[in-house]
Assembly symmetry: C2
């Protein structure tokens, strides 16, 4: 079988398929060069559970439950650190309006039975003393973890290769050019031109800061914040990096704009003032593979059972990699889609050719 696309979805799927005894070739001119190199790596099934997306939330929760085992297996096999951290996420609101906005969302999340606990300002600062004194309140999502996507891809390449996966460094522009009889298309935004599926790029601008002095950042939780109506997340890594993300723009241009950098830095500094002393290392643009219903597209193309799609993960590709890989490997091994795939099949956007 072939996997088109060497991002986290394609690599994890290739690895899982190879582990089940399949012969797998990954086609990608430069694995990990797409949106995974820009992504923050939040594994946040709870704080990212939105109104009206219950099916996706279930899939995210299931994938989150698989992450500890997935990470442990990957680190053991690859012998590489992937920056997996389990301190959890603090959701915080700067102003009363921001807090009301955040509370509306976490009340919904609590209603779904998801683990998220409101905290008073003093409790927030007990957990993260660097939070701005003005922060009005928030909540703790203990199951919302993080991983470093660049390290993840490096480890997945090693693990896949050790499991017997081959790599062909070419760009696939036509699926009929692939010799393998079965193809998994995990090409992110590129899936649209390969399959006709409605996957569109959703631009994101993101910053990488670095703590001064070579040490780790002064906070350990992922911080998901609302600051003067600006939404921002701060992801601290043990190696000193802090990711500040991200815009969500229905644009395809590759421009890092002054306004996006300003908004991200302002919200970040409003929530954690110490960040003004951090180095600004990088400002980058990536494109999330979006779909009309914000849910991923997983399963065979209608009428073409040898072409299986695994894309459209939008803002949740890193979180959803483990469950996607297992579900696609199971489908290929048994020929039968798991029931959970029912909501995510390509046929919701396509009729049989």
């Amino acid at each position: 079988m072939a996997v088109v696309g060497g991002g986290p979805i394609g690599l994890a799927t290739a690895w899982r398929c190879a582990t089940r005894g399949m012969r797998v070739t990954v086609y990608d001119p430069e694995p990990g060069s797409g949106s995974s190199g820009v992504a923050a790596g939040m594994l946040a099934p709870v704080a990212e559970a939105y109104f009206g997306e219950e099916e996706s939330t279930r899939l995210m929760t299931e994938s989150a439950a698989r992450w500890p085992g997935f990470a442990a297996e990957l680190v053991e096999l690859s012998e590489l650190d992937i920056g997996y951290r389990t301190e959890g996420t603090l959701v915080v609101g700067l102003t009363p309006d921001d807090l009301a906005e955040a509370r509306r969302l976490w009340s919904y999340q609590q209603g779904l039975g998801l683990p998220i606990t409101p905290l008073r300002p003093a409790q927030l600062r007990d957990r993260e003393p660097l939070l701005a004194p003005g922060v009005r309140g928030g909540a703790h999502a203990p199951d919302d973890h993080q991983v470093d996507p660049r390290r993840l891809v490096a480890a997945l390449r090693v693990a896949a290769a050790k499991a017997g996966v081959s790599f062909v460094p070419t760009t696939v522009t036509d699926l009929s050019a692939i010799p393998e009889p079965v193809v998994v298309v995990a090409a992110g935004c590129g899936t649209a031109s390969l399959t006709g599926l409605p996957v569109r790029p959703v631009k994101g601008q993101i910053l990488r800061l670095r703590a001064p002095g070579g040490g780790p950042p002064g906070f350990r939780h992922v911080i998901r914040g609302y600051a003067d109506s600006r939404s921002v997340y701060l992801v601290p890594r043990a190696d000193g990096e802090v990711v500040v993300g991200a815009t969500v723009e229905e644009r395809t241009d590759p421009t890092v704009t002054a306004g996006a950098v300003l908004d991200l830095l302002r919200a970040a500094a409003d929530l954690v003032p110490e960040l003004v002393e951090y180095e600004l290392v990088e400002a980058r643009v990536g494109w999330r593979p979006g779909t009309p219903d914000n849910a991923p597209i997983l399963g065979p193309l209608p009428g073409r059972p040898t072409v299986v799609v695994a894309t459209g993960h939008y803002r949740h590709g890193i979180l959803l990699a483990p469950v996607t890989a297992v579900l696609i490997a199971e489908l290929l091994a048994t020929g039968v889609p798991a029931p959970v795939l029912g909501s995510f099949l390509p046929e919701r956007f396509m009729t049989v050719a």
Copy 2:
């Protein structure tokens, strides 16, 4: 004779000396690689005239008067565009407090007889419609122009070479290693270790934006602004670039900090909101050669007439290049310092060895 340092001061001096018939060698491992590659290129003798710096202001005014001829000669000889623009500078204040701060300074400048004319908000917006509606007032300094320092250095290298200047691409660490009998030290911050003079690096962080669509920026004047107590300048170039500067920090580290980028972008966007759509192309650090009295150091070392210093121009090296070059060339040709050099001689910081 030798010139140590191939920045604008060293190159202009070498060019002027060669034009007067001297045999000149410039020592620099990479001419133009110092602070001139970071500088904005404001030629602002008026808006940069500060309380208590009357001697420097006179020198800046004299150099500004030389700039049109200097630029014309340089462009003709080098056949290169140097981005010299004469629309003048608008000084603006965003809030009433900002305007009061700006007015205090321009009242002082008017008191010195310098050309600067207060403008009402409507008059400001007649000149630059993109100014934020909230800008409370300002002034026009018609003689405060601009040049592109990177283009300037490129042109000076060509002009100097055409005038017969030789270039030796090595770093000078000891003046005694130089074979030429007379040495001009124009090494910026590096002058301290070569001569013992108190020249210290003053860190500046600066941004370069680019107008969208490949066209020029939507404004033509240099804008010197005060926005919520933050000082910023915006320098629009015909090629689409906008320089946003600059911090003034008594630090020597090379770090681009999140806080500096935030402050510069916030002040810029407060004054010209359209800038949020511009691309953020570059964030860089440079070091101005500062002196204890903020004035340049020009002339022979006490007791060592064959070692002539031309440095310490602090924030005004681009503006002061023409007058510095002429004064140093005159000194070397005649052996007699011009009276104007009296305030800037090295001996104010040194005793005879």
